[in-house]
Homo-oligomer: 147 residues x 2
């Protein structure tokens, strides 16, 4: 394949859609592990670019959220990527401590071992899982109710 | 840290929320590269577990979508992970061809080099990008209007 234009600069409009949010994936710069998926609004992405530390928008608390502000488990930005449709972002980060509020390095620490097709109600799907991720801190010692 | 229970089996209810969808991240099993982000409904996750090949739900076409069905660029599932809140899934896959309909191996092939804070309207954020990903196929030769 020709990739003569592969290093071309391009102005991209990140598109926050009808709800003002894009999914934001965080990936460990060192290990490549996918750490978490959250959402970001325009302000969160701006702050992330400006500050070099990952910001998200908390849908439950309805506010800007600097990852690790209270826990110390910050994510220093190494690179930000946008996808082809410019409606999702990837933060490639140096993760301090663990990304997951349960104490694991990654929020994706459970592997599906078996499905239960047909079980559950319309909006849930029960699956058997096995915990495969690494626990790196004790959440009780770190959090007092907020991330 | 104690991780005595780290291999415990656990029944998890994947939660498809109010819109019936979870974000689904695909990651290359070999390189660790984050390939794409799409959405999956209950049926898509069930089919993915049963068939061993990645399925999503296309919000624009409003239908179940087997990745690569027409292009041949399928994603064979190596592992499925669920996150701590059970409202996002990670497909760890062997990617046939390229994941991105534009011909790149990953949809996240553009790196943000500079923000333009304050520019754009309420729902967009213009950013300067540089293409860093690898182009692996010619989309004109593969797609005739659908993925």
């Amino acid at each position: 394949m020709s990739d003569a234009d592969s290093s071309a600069d391009e102005l991209v409009d990140i598109d926050f859609g009808h709800d003002g949010l894009v999914p934001a994936v965080a990936q460990d710069a060192e290990t490549g592990e996918v750490l978490m998926l959250a959402f970001a609004d325009r302000e969160a992405v701006e702050r992330t670019i400006e500050s070099g530390t990952a910001h998200y928008y908390s849908r439950s608390r309805e506010e800007l959220w600097q990852k690790g502000k209270s826990s110390g488990h910050t994510q220093e930005i190494e690179e930000i990527r946008v996808d082809c449709d410019a409606d999702a972002v990837l933060y490639i980060v140096e993760q301090e401590g663990g990304a997951c509020h349960t104490g694991y390095h990654s929020c994706f620490h459970r592997k599906v071992t078996e499905g239960r097709p047909g079980a559950g109600d319309e909006n849930t799907l029960p699956v058997e899982t096995e915990t495969v991720g690494e626990k790196v801190f004790d959440p009780d010692a770190v959090y007092d109710g907020e991330e």
